[in-house]
Every structure is written in structure tokens, then in C-alpha cells.
Symmetry: D3
Subunit: 305 residues, 6 copies
Amino acid sequence: MAKHVKPIDRGGYKEHPYVIPHMTLDEYGPKFKDFFTLKREKGILEAKFHTNGDSLVWSAQVHRALWQICTYVGQDMDNEIMIFGGTGKNWIAGQDETTTMSEEENRDWMIYDHMFYDGTNICEGFIFDLEIPTIGVINGPGFHTEMALFCDITLMADNAFIIDPHYEAGMVPGDGIQIAFRECMGLKRANYAMLMCEKIDAKKALEFGMVNEILPPDKIYDRAWEIARKLMTKKRAMRRTTVQILRAPWKEALSKELRFAFGMEMMVTATDKPEHTNDAWNDLTDKQRKNMAKNAEKMEKKHRK
Amino acid sequence: MAKHVKPIDRGGYKEHPYVIPHMTLDEYGPKFKDFFTLKREKGILEAKFHTNGDSLVWSAQVHRALWQICTYVGQDMDNEIMIFGGTGKNWIAGQDETTTMSEEENRDWMIYDHMFYDGTNICEGFIFDLEIPTIGVINGPGFHTEMALFCDITLMADNAFIIDPHYEAGMVPGDGIQIAFRECMGLKRANYAMLMCEKIDAKKALEFGMVNEILPPDKIYDRAWEIARKLMTKKRAMRRTTVQILRAPWKEALSKELRFAFGMEMMVTATDKPEHTNDAWNDLTDKQRKNMAKNAEKMEKKHRK
Amino acid sequence: MAKHVKPIDRGGYKEHPYVIPHMTLDEYGPKFKDFFTLKREKGILEAKFHTNGDSLVWSAQVHRALWQICTYVGQDMDNEIMIFGGTGKNWIAGQDETTTMSEEENRDWMIYDHMFYDGTNICEGFIFDLEIPTIGVINGPGFHTEMALFCDITLMADNAFIIDPHYEAGMVPGDGIQIAFRECMGLKRANYAMLMCEKIDAKKALEFGMVNEILPPDKIYDRAWEIARKLMTKKRAMRRTTVQILRAPWKEALSKELRFAFGMEMMVTATDKPEHTNDAWNDLTDKQRKNMAKNAEKMEKKHRK
Amino acid sequence: MAKHVKPIDRGGYKEHPYVIPHMTLDEYGPKFKDFFTLKREKGILEAKFHTNGDSLVWSAQVHRALWQICTYVGQDMDNEIMIFGGTGKNWIAGQDETTTMSEEENRDWMIYDHMFYDGTNICEGFIFDLEIPTIGVINGPGFHTEMALFCDITLMADNAFIIDPHYEAGMVPGDGIQIAFRECMGLKRANYAMLMCEKIDAKKALEFGMVNEILPPDKIYDRAWEIARKLMTKKRAMRRTTVQILRAPWKEALSKELRFAFGMEMMVTATDKPEHTNDAWNDLTDKQRKNMAKNAEKMEKKHRK
Amino acid sequence: MAKHVKPIDRGGYKEHPYVIPHMTLDEYGPKFKDFFTLKREKGILEAKFHTNGDSLVWSAQVHRALWQICTYVGQDMDNEIMIFGGTGKNWIAGQDETTTMSEEENRDWMIYDHMFYDGTNICEGFIFDLEIPTIGVINGPGFHTEMALFCDITLMADNAFIIDPHYEAGMVPGDGIQIAFRECMGLKRANYAMLMCEKIDAKKALEFGMVNEILPPDKIYDRAWEIARKLMTKKRAMRRTTVQILRAPWKEALSKELRFAFGMEMMVTATDKPEHTNDAWNDLTDKQRKNMAKNAEKMEKKHRK
Amino acid sequence: MAKHVKPIDRGGYKEHPYVIPHMTLDEYGPKFKDFFTLKREKGILEAKFHTNGDSLVWSAQVHRALWQICTYVGQDMDNEIMIFGGTGKNWIAGQDETTTMSEEENRDWMIYDHMFYDGTNICEGFIFDLEIPTIGVINGPGFHTEMALFCDITLMADNAFIIDPHYEAGMVPGDGIQIAFRECMGLKRANYAMLMCEKIDAKKALEFGMVNEILPPDKIYDRAWEIARKLMTKKRAMRRTTVQILRAPWKEALSKELRFAFGMEMMVTATDKPEHTNDAWNDLTDKQRKNMAKNAEKMEKKHRK
């Protein structure tokens, strides 16, 4: 007859004593410190992306960190809800011009490793790698807001906007934004928004059903925490399986289309050599440029070691 | 050479004389009298659920009667349109506390027979078992309004609301309400409504496209009959095949997800033992409690025989 | 506090004492006696269709009885497994020429009520109306064997064959047979079989994966009972939910295509006036003709009353 | 080793010198002159349907020309964007009563060749046969506006409306309009609109997300050209593959349902013999009747030759 | 009241006298003479691709002609069945080395116009542009046999084989062959065949259910004609709508995946610059090389004019 | 203007110097040593699961390690192909009776954390978390062979078999095995195999198309390495994107059904309390029992520290 071993009590859940332990926040937290401020209270993990402590400046290394964090957060059983958003005044403040690799000289890397592989894994990260409720916080203006649309609940600052700059930048909108737009505002509106690079302000985004609440920028994280705490009052398995049901249409949509459509985008990018880092994506203030330069210096120093 | 037999003329349609006759309203009507007031005029069947003549009080026996009526109404060729809704001031007035079976002692029954089997068959009943147009009438406040959303046309009283209390009650929203919400207001709004137990009033329900018309409670059945009579002016096969086309997305959605997601809900329910009859679902007035008690007495007397 | 009522013990399952009782075999059995021999032992229901005690002769009244039995068997909680098949030497022995209604004079009935409505409901009956495992027994030669393919397990007599005679008869194969063929032998083989009216014998049917076992005609029902008894050894909810999972692809396929494709078949039938009762479908022996005539007499007498 | 041949430079694109040349606007343009005014500037093709230079009057010959133009425009590599819409004050001014074939005497033609074949090919023409962005211009009132909904961007005159007259005319809405309505306003609103023949004005159409912009009738084509020129500023392969991604949901929806549902519509039409040319579809002014008569004369003269 | 115009009798069908006439075989036949031998008898069109009268040598111009013929054949109402296959001993004899354009200098053309646009349109041509039954004849060895798999019925010469050389040639199998393989032999076998470049001989292809009949090369076209004549014995609308039902799974599969997956193939091709014209694809005999050279000369002369 | 940083050359690929480095085999390898023997040569990773150096004995800790390895292997860019299979004579040798946790006392853990969460993540791990080709090696008899079916290529020892013991063990087959069976042998065969617990030997598995090659047990890993080396001869992005296309049907199937159906399985398990560790799953020899006991001791000692 079976002799039973005793479970380890992990607070909210039990664990078999012989399993390979998951990596803890203490272990993976430091890896992310250049890209994310991570804070956890009673199972609620707040992950705010940043560059040198201020609004994020987009870069190849951020592009990868975005799905890496989903993998690490997802495998950590001590995370029960994730609040995900930006830092400071902007969702994303621009594109980093100081730490780029030459796309000309590193074409294979640029098309497959950087764009296709990292890009598809970001969308899949939010939808497939996290068992737990996610709250996206669009804390201010910036591009790539579709990451917040992939969250289960989306809050939007009243001064933010949603836009797909692909067409304007000479690129095919196939990186998952087309799925987010279509699911969140319907086919007809989505197609127009993508072809015309429509700038959708908070009021319209709410009216279209793309986001769930509009808030002043300085209240938005408080509200996210309020929602998270409310969701935490219910039992763990219920909370986790609920979001798995709610995300089912996202899963099917991504499975059917994400990698394929991304391939179409990359086919054109690989042929046309569009200037990805065009002005449409950049709106950097002097202050941001300075911060970016400082960060580049810091990164160089760090990785030279 | 074939010798032909003569059809039986049934008013709106012909019938082969040797078929097994369907059960008529006279035969099945009396079975439902404790749960439904049934009235038929020129092919339009009005089915109003009730408890002892007033607003329905939810119970295990009602849960079963709801799909049973779809089966019986569906096989009766003399029904051409169904108006479906509540009685009195409420859509549903609360949960019956006087005729429950012990869930503790009857776990198998509770999970499979009562919840899963009856629950999945209700949704499938509206979508698969009825060939005819259906008009759902949300005559007043109450839960489980998703049954009216599954109807082809939905009318809503101006004082009614739509809410999914699952999460609040510690249950997974997998009983079909997630399909109704998603199809009727889009993914993003639906997921928020389910996680936050959002109370959607009539104005918002119309704006979201969840319902088709808002009416004062005392005019709502008149309008349902007006619509039904208008629909009846057209030919029978056209009317029936039209709704079969309109319901195709419902059919595909239910086929793909209903029983599966219901299983997820029940997995958690069977493990967590949530207090299903929690306060969120009950809002009974004294008058209702009295009516409920009276009904329990009547039922006991009836079934003791 | 809730006062609990006691469940009724129904042998294999419990029932709330106040539910509307389902119709029992004693009640619905007699309705079917001209079309089905029904026998039940410990939850296993054997339903053998017949005409006057011998192999079935196809007719409009049979066409309807086939889905009616699914509705009645499905709502009867005392049925736990259904064995479904033919009587005597043939699966179906031919088409009844003695009890037909004039298709010329009853066009509406023929297209909608007889063909479309009854035809779609047969396929849906097997897949949607029965919660329980089904074992199809192709006991000998005959057309419309696709009904057995829709069962969860299919046994085939070594002298039987599977054929789709639509194209040969000038009809579009859209009544569900196209779904059964495609799911059971793959797209390429199915399309050839339908265009070429390929006669698929038992050996080939097994090789193609259309059926599960080949048996001598006189052993086939014994084997069906053996399988049924084996399946009955396991618990009720497990048995029922298992087949719901196994049938999921059938449900999705029927939901997406059945009624629509049937409409295409009927569009052509309504326009072309094909001679539906053509020779391809009839292969009647003298003995069968005599039986059919005798039956017609009996039916006339019965319905004259 | 391969000796290379030189490409032909076609302005916006290169062509292998040995391919079979596509038909040019000069070749196919004249074929369409009775049905379409075609104008092309720098890759932007404006195709305005008309009858005798004024608003189109619907007819069997137009029904065919609508998909023929998609085929011809689609194979012409020199077309890069299509603007598609009506002429004069109306989108469509009514049904032609002067050039009809007898539906009674030509039933096969009416059901299959005219309705099913031409009808399905119109929807497929817009979605499958054109690689390029399409801008639909609903220039004024009229039926069959769903053709403009199938375009990638849809502009609507402030005095126009969208309506599905099928049910009112005794017909099943299965010709693709049900797909357009469902995709453009959601299931619940679409089903109501089809059952109730709801007249959706421009304001509501915009609010529902069915169309993208509302404009005064006299400014609408200017705006279409403005949009087209904006879209043309980007590279060719990007522009073309972008719309292929945007149209993916349309493609899947049409593939799954269009022909099948059309079959259901035709099944009923072939059986019921509805008066297709009923008043609901006709709203002709005296001026229009005169124009129509003049056109009939012209057509007769032309085809008598 | 309507005055009726008389239909034109076209043999098998009627036509409205005022429609824009389709292009006839006399008009489009000559365009194809360098690529296809076209022969039509009583509605059966035999289209055999060739190079200079012998087995086809693959080239950019052929790649386009393959979908062009589907467009032209499809719009010609006088075609009722298409037999499609190769000429001489081989299905395809190799790749043309004498009429290539420089892929280096014409990258945009190569990726988008030549590969993506022509390539996707070939698959769509067979499935979407033809209303009529198609019989694919794999008359001998050669690559790109998937075109014959897309036909409704597929005959295979006993010395032929089916192979996907993509992986071996350093290319992603995303041009539609992955759909054909998956639909015709199932997921597991298909994935192995594509990764391992498995050479599937006729016996195995039949056993896997990829093809319908194996024949000696010299009897294969006779059999195709025999089948075509058999199919022609039935009525036109039935024949055409039947294949539309049979092709439904192909349509859905292509709509969901073809263009997207092709984009993934091209993303890699555009990045990797694989040597597309590699040895894996070429197996030319001296005789073929001579024929190819002769053809190149002929083409040059023709197009120099 | 942008100043470029230099990529790090990682052998087969380039990496941006500032990305968060992935965990290397040196880092994660040791975590897995109790469950997997990991060996890597030139990008080919062989992962053989084991218990104490011999055939694996199934346990809760293994159940979790199986998806953990997919996560770790998947994020390691230095893995290019994975060979996955068992150790010694058996695929899996039985169930561990010495390290179990009490299911009675840890119901929440058992249903959600152990079964549902770990179970769904195993299937998703193979299909979603690995970008690279996978070769499954069924090296001998044992249950849960469906993990090898989820690999892109499957090799099977001639003495192995495939069986689904769910039904026999009183459990619902909803843990993903139903998807693997259906995709690999078709609906009809799969449903029979699951209801009847059919033991499918290697010959039949090959004939059904479930596996790709049969080999003697002592040659099977050599063959796997041979295939892996062959696949490695082609370029990296091509190899990786190819398997993403090949896996698309798996992705869609898992997204639509896996978690939902698993919920149905668990609903019944949570209600019925089936004896999961029943005899059907256990076939342990004395030698294995000794090994298991020794391992239990080792584990206890290790985790006591």
C-alpha cells in the first residue's frame, strides 16, 4: 500500500515536495531590472516596463524581455494576478536609437530572431503562458498598446490613444495587432483603423468596446490594484480556470493566424527593407533622449563587464 | 406503380397520414402547468415561466423544466413562433429555499444530473431543439437572463438588468453565459462583465447590442405579440429556414464550447463546494417568500399522492 | 435555512421528486411498434427498425420515426446505451411504393417537411439528442448506412456494403452523408465515393477506418450486446461525458454544414424534380414486395380507425 | 548556367516577358460600358455602376456583370485600388421591369444560373478575386448595399440607408447579406435587422460600426479618391498583402457558409415561387421609369444586331 | 407589367440575351497554346500542360499560366468538366534554365509577383474558380503533383510518385502543398513526408488515400474520359453544386491558411536566398534539354515581335 | 543617427548583446537530473526520461517535470532539435506507489494543481513551447505514449503498443489523448480505441498512420539521431518555421478543446473519486519495484536536506 508524502504548504496552494521548484521572484526579478519594475503583494504582481526608471524606450532587448517576463511570471506559482503597464507619462516614449544592431548586416537575425520569433512570442506570452488574470494599464500615449488589449481587463488613461502605425510605416499589420483590433472593435472598424492609421482616443476606444475603463493617469494604477484585490477575494482554481475560459477565443485566433500573418508581414519587410525606425514611431522629447543616452551608457558598461 | 395516400391537412402544413403523431399542446401542456403558463393563438405560443402564478423562483425542478419545454415545443409542428419570458414584476425572483435536495448527500446528482446535464440542455434546447423564431422577453429584474439572449429577438424591460453573478458566487462562468455574453457584446466587454459582475442596465444593454428593444414592463408582451404576428405574415418554410441560418453562429459556438466549458465550471464546483445558493442570487421579498412557501406546500401535497 | 427534500432512487441515478417525469419506455414504446422493435435490459436499449417484422422498407413515415426515436430515447434517463440497427437479412430492403404521398401535389411538404426537416433531424438526433453511447449495427445490405456511421461504435456484417447513391439518382449528396463519409474515410476517398457511387464492401470499409469490426450477420447483435455490457461496467457520468467528448467533432461538423448543405440538395431537387424513387434505391425481392403490401394494408386499416 | 531574360517594366511592377498578358482596361472596358463607368488614374480604378448614365436599375444582366467586373479587374495587374459605387442620386434605383426573362418558363436558369451562380460569385468576387484595396461608396439610397460592406473601407452618403428586404419579400436571407450584417454589426443586431427588415440610416450604421465615414452625397467620391491616393503612397506588395490579411475573416466566413446558405434560400424560392420583383424592392420615380424604358430600347437594338 | 425577353439556348443551359458574353474557347484557347493543349468534347475540357509538345518544363511563365487557365476555364459556361494533367512521359520534366529572370536583380518580382501572387492563385484557381468537376491526371513522374490532389478525383500513373522537395531544397513547405498533404493523408503522415522528403509511390499513395485509382500511363487519359463521360450523364446544376459541397473543406482550409503560410515560406526565402532552382528539382534528360532550348528560341522569337 | 552595437555570435545564430540571456543547459540541466538524461550534440538535444537510471516510473513530480522541460528547452536558443523518449526497456514502467500525496487530503491540489494544471501544460508544452523539430521515441511498452504522438516525427519500437486506459480506469479521456488519437488515426478508429481500450500494436499503429517508422528497440535511438542530423543539414529559420506550419492543426485543436475537455474529465474525477492508481496502469516487475523503492529513499534524503 502507498505511503503518502506530505505536501509543502505554499500559502495559497500546496506543492508536492519532490517537484522541481519553480524559479522564484527573487531569482528572476534581478534579471529584469533594466526593463521591468516588479512589485508583489499577496499574489498580485505589478510589472511596469521602463527605461532607466522613466517611460520605456522601445528596443530589440525590450522586444525580447516582453515575452521572457511572461515565461518567468507564468511558471511562478506564487503569482496570482498580473498588473502590466508602463512607467511615467508615456506607455512607450519612442524607439531607442542608441543600442540598435545594424539591420543591414544582420538580416537573418532581424527577420527571424528579432522580429518573427520575439514578436510572435510576445502575443503568445500574454495569452498562453499566463494562467492568471491580467490587467493591462495603458498609462499614457505610445505605440504597441495592443499588448494591453491582450490582457483580460484593460484600463486606459484619458490622454492615451491607440493607433496602428504599420501601414504608415510601410509595413504589413500582421504582428498580432490585427487580431487584437478585430477582436476588440469588430472587423469593419478594425480594417479602417489599420489602413488609415486612425488615432483612437480614450473616449472612442471605450465606445468601441476596446478598453474597459478610462481613468486619469494618476489614478490608473490605484484602480488596477483595486480591481486586482477584488478579484483576489475569490478562490484560486476558480479564478484561474475562469480566465482560461475567457481567453479561449484569443487562443483560437492566435493559433489560427498569428505566426502565419507575421510571416506575411516579414515576407514584405525582408523584400522591401522598410525603414522600421521611421518618424511615425518616434516622438522623443529632449528629456527622453537624454535618458536614453544615459541608459545606453549604463547598458554598455554593464555588458562590457 | 405507386398508389398515393392522401396527406392530412393540419392548417398551416400537411402531414403524411401514417407518421407517429407528435404530442399536442393538450397532451404536454398539463405537464408544465406548475412551471409555465402556455397560451397559443394561430401558431404563436407564449410560454411564461412562473411560480405559483407569480414571478419564477429558481429551483432544480425549474432547471429541468426549461429544457423539457424546448423538447416538447420543438417536436410540436403546430408551434410556429415562441414568445418566452417571465411572469409578474421579475424575470426571476430568487432561489427556492424550500424544495432543495441536499447537495452534500447527493453529489453525483448535483454535479452531473442537475447542473451539467440539465444546464447544457437548456442552452442547446433554445438553439437546437426549436426550428421556429423565438422572442425572448426580459420582463423585469432577475438572473439567468442569458436564456433570453439565446432567443432570436430579445426585448428588455426598462427596469431590468443583465448580470453574470458567477465570479461573485465563487463559480466559473462556463454554463453558456460566457457564449451569450461574448456573442452579444464582444470579447472585451464580455470578459470584463464576467470578471467584475458588471450590472448592465437596459440602456447599456441596448447600446452594447445585447438586446433589440427596450420597453416599459407593462407594454413588453404586447410588443412581443406584435412582432410575432408580423413574422407570421410570411410563409412557413421561409420563416423556419431563415432562423436556422440566423442561428448558425450560435450552433457552432455551442458545439465547440458549451459542454466542455461547463465541465470546467463543474470541475471547480465539485472540488471547491461553493455555496451556490449565496446571497448574490437571492433578493427575495417577503411576499415572494410567502408565495414560495405556499408553492412548496402545494408541490409536496401533489407529489405525495 | 433550507429544508431538504429526498431524492427518488431510480436505480442507476437519483431524481428530484418534483421534476416533470420523463416519458417512460412503457409510454413511448407502443408509439414506435410499427417501426422499431425495442428491447431493454439493465439500461441497454436495443432499437431494431423493421417493416412488419422483417427488414425495413424505407418510407416517409420511417424517415420521421428515425429522429422521433432519438428524441424519445434521449429524454428517457433510464436508457444508458443504445444498440441501433436493422432487422432480418437487410439493413434496408428497399423503398415503399405502396404508402407514398404524391410529390407532385405536395411539393411544399416534400421539400421542407419530409426531406429537409425530417432529414436534418435524423442526423442531429443521433449526434445531439442522445447523451449515451450508441452502437450502430449494419446487419446486412441496404442504403442509408450513414446512420450507423453516426453511432459511436459501428459494427458491419461481412455481406453488407456502404454506398452513396445520390449522384446516380440525380441528387446532390448534401443530407449529411457527405459529412459521415468525410469524417470516416478522409476527404479524397469520400469525394470519389460520392461522385462515383462506389460500393464499399466490409473489408474496404474496415481498411478505410469507416467501421470498427466486421462480423458474420448471425453474430453481429451478440457482439453489440457484448460491447454494450462491457461499456456498462463503468460509472454513469463517466460513460456519458466520455461520448460527449468523442462526439465533439461530429457536433461541430453538423453545426457548420448539415442544414446548409441539405438546402443545396433541396434547391436542386426542388428545381430538377428528380425521380427520387428510382431503381438505384430499390432492389426488392418478391418476398419483400409481399411483406410491403401486407404492411400497407395493415397501416391503412390502423389509420382508418 | 542560366541565361537570364529581361523583365518588362510595367510602371509599378515588373513582368516576365513570356507570360500570357492579362487583358487590359482597353480590352475589357468596352464590354462593361452598359453597366459600369470605368475611370483609372495612376492605378486607382473607379467603377461606378449605372443604367443609361443614371442610377442603376437592377436586372439579371447587372447581376452577372457585378462578378464579371471583379474577375476582369482582378486579373489586371495595372489596377492597384478599386473605388466601387453607384451613379447619380441612388445606390440602386429599382428593379428593371422591361428586360426580364420569364421565371416561370426558365426555372432552371432562374434558380441556378441567375440566382445561385451569379449571386454567390458576386460576394466571392469582392473578397477572393481582388488582391487590391477596395473602397465601397454608398452614394445614396437603394438595396443590395451589402456589396459596399464587402469592400475594405465603406463610405456612406448621409441620406442613404441599409436594409435587408428578404424577409419582407418572402425570401430567406441567405445570399451573403447575412454574413455581411453579422460581421459588420454583430449577431444580435444583425438577426433583428434581418427578421424585422430594419431600415438602418447612416447615423446608426456608423454607430453600429457597419460603415467607416458618413459624407454628403456630393462629397463622397472626392473623399474616396482622397483615401485611395493616400493608400497609394505606400509600396505595392505591402498594400496588397495588407488587405489579404484584413480580409481573412471574410474569406473564412464566405467559405464556410455562402454557397450553403444560398442553397437554403434557393430551396425555399424554388418551392414557394415568391414574387421576387415585389414592391418592397421597387421605388421607381417617373424619371427612372423613362430612363429604364429608354435603356431597354437601346439594349434591344444593340443585341438584335 | 413586365414584358419578357427570350433566353438564348446555349445547348446545356439558357442565357439572358443582354449579359456580357463570357470569353469562348475560341477566344482564350490561342492564348494558352504554348502551355496547354486544350480539347473539348460535349462539355468535357481536357487541359494538358506541355512544353513544345512534350512534358512540361517548369518556368515562371508556366507558373502564371496555371492560374490563368483556371480563371478563363472557370468563366466559360460551356465547360462542364475539366480533365487536367501532363503531357508525354512526365508530369513535369524539370525546371527551365533558359528563360529565367535574374532573381537577384528582380527580388520584388520574385518574392511577390512570381512566387506569392502566382503561387497562391494556382491553389485558389483549382478550388475557387471552377464550378465544375475536375479530374487530375498524374500521368508520370514529376514535382508539384499537389495540383492534381486539389482536383475532385485524382488518377495516378503506376510509375509516378508524389514528393515534397521543399525541405530538401531549403524552403518552407507553405505554398499549399502542406494543405494538400494534410487533407489527403492525415497530419502525422503528412508532416513526416514533408520533413523527410518522402518519395511516395503510386501504391502507397493509393493506400494512404491520396489518389483514387492507379493506372498504366497509356490508359490513364482514357480512364479520365470514361469517368468524365459518366459524370456528364447527370444534370448540370446537380453536378456543379455537388462538387461545391465536396470542395467545402478545401475552401475552408485554403481560406484559413494558404496565403498566410505562403507568407512564412516567402519570409524565409526572402531572407535566406535559397537556390530555388536546385538539383532536387531537376532531373532533365538530354532530350528534354534540347526541347527546352528549342522552346526558348521559339519563345524569344515570338515575343521579340 | 544610430550608432550600432555588435551582435554576439552564438554559433548558429546572432544575439543582441543587451538581451536578458536565456538559461543555458548548464544552468537548467542539473534541475532535471532525477527525471531526464540530457545530452546535446551540435544543437540536437536528446531528452530521455528515467527513474533512477532505468525506465520511468510515473509520479506527480514527473507529471510536472514533463512540461517544465518543454519550458526550459524551449527558451534555450541553443537547442535546435529535440529527441524525446524513454529509458531502458519500457516507455513507462508503471506508477510510483512510494512517493504519492494523499488525494483524499489534498483534493484541491490533486484536481487543479496536479491533474489539470500540469496535465494541460504537458500537451501545450510540446506543441506551443518548442519552436524546433521534435522526434518522439516510443522505446518500449508503457502508457501515456500520446506525448510521443505530439512530436513532429514519431518512431515506435516493434514491441511497443499504444493504448488509452482511461475508460477502463473509470476516467473520461479528456487529457489531450483524445486529440492525439483523433488527429493520428481519424475519428471513427479513435473513438473505438478510447471506448474499448484497444491495444494498438506497432504494426497497426503504422498502418493507421499514427507513427512514422517501426524499429527494433535497440536501433531506435540511432535512427532518431540519424533523422535529427539529416534535419540539421538545412538552415535554421527554415527548419523552425517549417515545424510551426506543420504544427498549426495541433495548435488549433489544442486551443479549441484541451483545457475544456480536461475540465470535463476532472468534473467526473472530482465527483466520482475514481481509483486513479488502478491496476490497469500498473504492471511493475519486482526489479522495478526495487528500483522505485531505492529512488523513493534517494528522493526523501535529497529533499530532507
